[in-house]
């Protein structure tokens, strides 16, 4: 490749799966795009399609080309390969998102990592759902205390959401029952819809969809069954509103928003301004606004102020550090099972 | 050879002079047809073939001479690489069978062209289905079938499924099928290969009626007496070339066969009186039921001794195939016993049976006898490839196999460029020679030969029949199943007749049997007593 002295900065983003999920991957890309527009640098996305064989060659090639001022790569799936590359190419700068690196041993001076604590956002969602299902005024809500959760494939990130969700629900009412099922992949939106419908059928009023593009099936199920769904990663209600699907938006009282785009945007702006704190990790949860529960017009429409206040109070405790939400990251299957058993079936 | 073709050209010349032919008199004329298959094989070389309106014209020649190919060209199934076809005086371009059918040319193929799971009526009307608005009226089809079968006096059960019909009836469906389409020219490619004498006679009667009604018939057969009986003129093909055209009445059978093969052929087999020894195969109270619950083999008992040829005569479809398949273990679940050297085969695998030097020529060459896509070599070694002598250090010994196969190709006179060509490139007769080479070269002690010469030219048939006798003389027991009565009588030492799954006659001395006599038993008109039948078991 030709080596012209770059006028502008060049940033490449490695996406472990594919763009276009309208959820996690697009979120990351959105943050990068925003920064690029503002600070005027060149960007490019490389998608791996979930194929682990491509991780190493892609990163090596990107490093080797010396073309990119910064490589943005993320998720735990890509972490090992990224660490390897960062070690091998100490002059190449990396921004790692949604994964944690331990810098204690003084390595990785060329890397910065950020993570948003999905479990904390999910905790609030669980709480909100558990409160909402007890509502006596909402006509869409039955009198059983049951809420639902549909995950894509079963993995640590999904279970991280699940545990937070269960804990949150139990925190406001230990009698709440949480139904949860997994699609088995992140593409079968029809199956996701069926699973959500089955949960509604079993008495749930509100189902949390954590299944990337398959999650759209869950939202549709809520619309079909005239129940509620909670969105993930981005503010789904506003997303639907933006394309004019108001009916759908009205079935999504809230979303667990990962403000990863904001975090990435901030890091990129630091990078441009050369204030990047190399060799540090930042895990941002509710405190610092790394995670948030969407509170939009539909939230206000559906969720009573009382419930919102209670959720807000829970949030304050987490921000203050008095409540610590457990995470699935680092837990064994048996340990996770303990939390799952709490869901109560 | 030169003298023969000279003779024929002379003959044509004489006829042309005497009859002062006008071109229009030929309903059909194929000129300078050359057909080259995509593997480069030249099946027809500048063939000129002319047929007059209202005649029965025989097309004869050895296996692989190019008869079927020429007819397929005429029927639009193959496209010639050069040459022209004139039909009713007009030059035509027959691009596919539909064109041929529209013009009035119909063909009954050498191999049945029927859809087994459909009924007779459905097969009859295929391509010209009755019914309105795209719908298919089955009732109408049945009616059409019944009408046409009445009109030509060829009775058939319109609602039977083809797969349940005996071959004779399938043949009938084929003929009715083209009659239904209202053609003027009928091409019959070896229609009698699978018929009994009685059925053949019946067919000939019908064909003659058709001829009288003005139909033109092209008739392909290897059976010369049939040609003599039925046809007006003949054209001989050899090696893709026309070697002559003649009036049938001008020639004797001997002359015709010499024309085809290029040398004298012996139509009778010379052999000594049999010297039967110990029993090799004995069958006791054997019965078998097909998947519809029909009892196809019915309480058979007989035995075959070393050094004799036992012929089984019978109309095809009377249990012969099932019988031979049971002996060769291709069918299972028999009732009763089959003993080889006194030991039951019920628990033995096909390989175990073959290792006791049992050979089997199946009547169904395409299904059992050969692998179409495999090479000649691969087809020959299928019963011996695993043996020590052909293997070395876990691999097959290519050199030894090559020599072995080349020897057999030479010995059995298989006409081919190389042992490594797929067997599908051979003509029917040569394919059968490959089968025979395999089955006869394993030093067999029992040969089960089911229709070994069906559809095979006189030369090759003679070769195979002689071989059977040689094997007998070397001490093999031979069970010969054939629908060709001439063959049964010529080759066998004694004859058993099967009808409807049972043995109805045992004729100890084949020499003293006539075709008519056999025919009566075969059709179930006569039956021997139980005492007489018991003699077929030699214990």
């Amino acid at each position: 490749a030709k080596k012209v002295e770059p006028k502008t900065l060049k940033v490449v983003v490695v996406i472990n799966t594919n763009l276009g999920d309208k959820a996690f991957s697009d979120l990351v890309w959105g943050g990068v795009q925003k920064a690029a527009a503002e600070f005027d640098f060149e960007i490019k996305a490389v998608e791996l399609g979930g194929d682990p064989t491509k991780q190493e060659p892609t990163l090596t090639e990107l490093c080797d080309s010396k073309e990119w001022d910064l490589i943005v790569a993320g998720t735990f799936n890509l972490l090992e390969a990224t660490k390897k590359a960062a070690e091998k190419y100490p002059d190449q700068k990396f921004l790692v998102y949604d994964a944690a690196i331990n810098y204690a041993d003084g390595k990785f001076k060329n890397v910065v990592s950020v993570l948003s604590k999905q479990n904390e956002g999910s905790y609030l969602a669980g709480a909100l759902a558990a409160l909402l299902t007890k509502s006596t005024t909402d006509p869409l809500v039955n009198d059983e205390k049951i809420i639902g959760f549909v995950g894509g494939g079963e993995n640590a990130a999904i279970n991280d959401f699940l545990i937070g969700y269960i804990e949150g629900a139990k925190a406001v009412d230990p009698a709440t029952k949480i139904l949860f099922s997994y699609v088995g992949n992140f593409t079968d939106s029809a199956k996701a819809k069926e699973l959500a419908l089955a949960q509604f059928q079993q008495g749930a009023d509100i189902v949390f969809a954590v299944a990337s593009s398959a999650g759209f099936g869950v939202y549709d199920a809520a619309k079909t069954a005239d129940k509620y769904a909670i969105g993930v990663d981005q503010d789904k209600a506003l997303q639907f509103k933006a394309v004019g699907d108001i009916v759908q938006a009205k079935h999504i009282p809230t979303s667990v928003v990962k403000n990863l785009d904001v975090l990435i945007y901030e890091k990129l702006s630091q990078f441009v301004k050369k204030t990047m704190p190399w060799g540090t990790h930042e895990a941002v949860g509710l405190k610092g606004n790394g995670m948030a529960l969407a509170n939009n017009e539909y939230t206000k429409l559906i969720v009573s102020a009382d419930i919102l206040a209670q959720v807000e109070a829970l949030k304050a405790k987490i921000v203050a550090g008095t409540t610590v939400v457990p995470t699935a990251i680092g837990l064994t299957t048996e340990q996770i099972q303990v939390y799952k058993d709490k869901a109560g079936q | 050879m030169a003298s023969v073709s000279h003779l024929f050209h002379l003959e044509i010349g004489v006829r042309i002079m005497s009859e002062n032919i006008k071109v229009e008199e030929y309903i059909l004329s194929m000129e300078n047809i050359t057909k080259i298959y995509s593997n480069g094989f030249i099946a027809n070389k500048s063939v000129n073939f002319k047929v007059r309106k209202g005649e029965i014209h025989a097309l004869i020649g050895e296996n692989g001479a190019g008869k079927s190919t020429l007819m397929k060209v005429l029927f639009g199934q193959e496209q010639p690489d050069s040459g022209e076809i004139f039909y009713k005086g007009k030059k035509t371009n027959i691009t596919n069978p539909l064109v041929a059918l529209h013009m009035g040319i119909g063909m009954v193929h050498q191999h049945f062209m029927l859809v087994p799971s459909l009924t007779v009526a459905e097969n009859m009307v295929l391509g010209v289905e009755p019914g309105k608005y795209g719908m298919f009226s089955y009732k109408e089809a049945v009616k059409l079938t019944n009408d046409i079968s009445k009109k030509y006096n060829l009775p058939i059960d319109a609602e039977a499924k083809i797969m349940d019909l005996p071959v004779g009836f399938k043949q009938r469906v084929e003929i009715l099928k083209i009659l239904l389409r209202g053609v003027d020219v009928l091409i019959l490619d070896e229609p009698t290969a699978v018929l009994t004498p009685q059925e053949t006679d019946e067919l000939f009667k019908q064909l003659k009626v058709l001829k009288e009604k003005g139909y033109t018939i092209i008739f392909i057969s290897h059976k010369l007496h049939e040609i003599k009986k039925l046809c007006d003129n003949l054209t001989v093909l050899r090696n893709g070339r026309v070697t002559g055209t003649a009036k049938v009445s001008d020639l004797t059978e001997q002359e015709i066969s010499k024309m085809m093969v290029g040398r004298d052929v012996f139509l009778t087999i010379k052999k000594d009186v049999a010297q039967p020894k110990e029993t090799v195969l004995s069958v006791k109270n054997l019965s078998w039921v097909d998947k519809h619950g029909k009892r196809v083999v019915n309480n058979l008992s007989f035995s075959v001794r070393a050094g004799e040829i036992l012929g089984i005569a019978g109309v095809e479809g009377n249990g012969q195939r099932e019988l031979t398949n049971l002996i060769a273990r291709l069918e299972e679940n028999q009732i009763g016993e089959i003993l080889l050297y006194g030991k039951s085969i019920a628990k033995q695998s096909i390989r175990e049976i073959r290792e006791q030097k049992i050979s089997h020529i199946s009547e169904d060459r395409m299904t059992f006898g050969t692998v179409y896509e495999a090479t000649i070599e691969e087809n020959i070694i299928s019963d011996r490839f695993y043996k020590k002598e052909f293997n070395k250090n876990y691999l097959m010994d290519a050199k030894k196999i090559k020599n072995h196969v080349n020897e057999l190709i030479k010995e059995y006179n298989v006409r081919t460029d190389s042992k490594d060509l797929p067997i599908r490139t051979l003509s029917g007769g040569n394919m059968q020679k490959v089968v025979v080479a395999r089955e006869f070269s394993s030093d067999p002690k029992l040969v089960i030969a089911n229709q070994p010469t069906r559809g095979i030219d006189v030369g090759a048939s003679e070769f195979i029949r002689k071989k059977l006798v040689t094997l007998r003389d070397q001490g093999a027991a031979v069970l010969l199943v054939s629908a060709d009565l001439n063959e049964v009588i010529e080759v066998s030492d004694s004859i058993v007749v099967m009808c409807d799954g049972s043995i109805v006659a045992y004729l100890k001395d084949a020499k003293r049997v006539t075709e008519e006599q056999l025919g009566e038993y075969m059709l179930g008109i006569k039956k021997q007593s139980d005492e007489e039948l018991r003699e077929v078991v030699h214990d």
């Binding site: 763009l19 949860f180 | 039921v289």
Partner: protein
């Protein structure tokens, strides 16, 4: 546990089965027609994906449902015709071509969506149209029956109608007879002037059309949007249903519904605390068990076994 029983023995559950089985019925009917034509085609997944996308794009761009259906059909049938061209005309290997077209379906749809609309992966931001649901007059008021069979998407009714139409087509029309003959003995068909390749192409065309409806149901009925790889193996399961049904339209439909039921049961069983992997396996295990039991029955006909017994008894006497 009783929640599960309650779920399974409810009218909603049976309603669910019809909904889940709809795409499978379409594909299995498509597979049936194609199989009758003697073609072994595994490209339905690709056809359905393209049809699903075509329907969404067509209806979103024009806001006209029929244009959407038309475009979807064109997309799906195009894939069928590509299959036909390569397999029947150029004689490419059918399994290979099928696999290649499925790969094409997976990536090609995303690419096309991107090229035409700038969206990638899902079409949820397109305002595509949905085929309506239908409450059947009178029937909808019959207690249990109404709850099960009324109120479905029109595609669901079309699926069942397709079964009847396929039956008529195969057994009662000229074309059907020709398709069967071409599938069973092409030489025979050719010898009576039937154009073999053309007939096979027609059977693929019809198969492609029916499969397209299966695909469009997914993105315009079942769900109101297209997502990447949304068929998730339904094309293959349709072939399995066809195989289970032994080429008979009614049995094939029942097989598709059996599979739909297994899927629905598995969805409900997710609330049992079994490892999710095992619950997700269930539908596939059911299919295999189905194949085994059909095969077991096929082995020997009853009349034959009975007859053998009779003969054995009579010879013993």
């Amino acid at each position: 546990m009783d929640v599960i029983f309650k779920s399974i023995f409810s009218t909603v559950f049976f309603y669910t089965i019809l909904r889940v089985a709809t795409p499978l019925i379409f594909v299995s009917m498509a597979a049936l027609i194609v199989r009758k034509g003697g073609i072994m085609c595994i490209a339905f997944e690709g056809m359905m994906l393209f049809a699903a996308l075509g329907g969404v794009i067509g209806s979103a761009l024009t806001q006209n449902l029929f244009v959407g259906l038309l475009l979807g059909t064109i997309f799906g049938v195009t894939i069928a015709m590509i299959f036909a061209y390569f397999v029947l005309v150029l004689q490419s290997n059918n399994v290979l071509t099928g696999l290649a077209l499925n790969i094409l379906g997976s990536g090609g749809t995303v690419f096309l969506l991107f090229a035409l609309t700038g969206e990638k992966g899902t079409s949820s931001s397109l305002r595509s149209l949905q085929v309506p649901h239908w409450n059947i007059p009178i029937i909808k008021d019959i207690p249990i029956l109404g709850e099960i069979i009324s109120g479905h998407n029109l595609f669901t009714y079309l699926a069942f109608l397709t079964v009847i139409l396929v039956y008529i087509l195969v057994y009662k029309t000229r074309l059907g007879l020709r398709i069967r003959s071409v599938g069973e003995n092409p030489q025979a068909a050719e010898s009576v002037g039937i154009k073999v390749i053309r007939t096979k192409v027609i059977s693929l065309l019809i198969g492609g059309l029916i499969a397209s409806f299966g695909g469009m149901y997914m993105s315009m009925g079942y769900l109101p949007f297209f997502t990447r790889d949304m068929m998730s193996g339904r094309g293959f399961i349709g072939i399995a249903a066809q195989n289970l049904g032994g080429g008979i339209p009614l049995n094939t439909m029942l097989s598709a519904m059996l599979f739909g039921s297994a899927e629905a049961v598995s969805n409900v069983f997710q609330s049992l605390r079994l490892p999710s992997e095992f619950v997700q396996m269930l539908p596939y295990i059911v299919t295999i068990v189905g194949l085994i039991s059909i095969g077991g029955v096929k082995k020997e006909s009853k009349s034959k076994i009975k007859r053998i017994k009779e003969i054995k008894e009579s010879t013993h006497e």
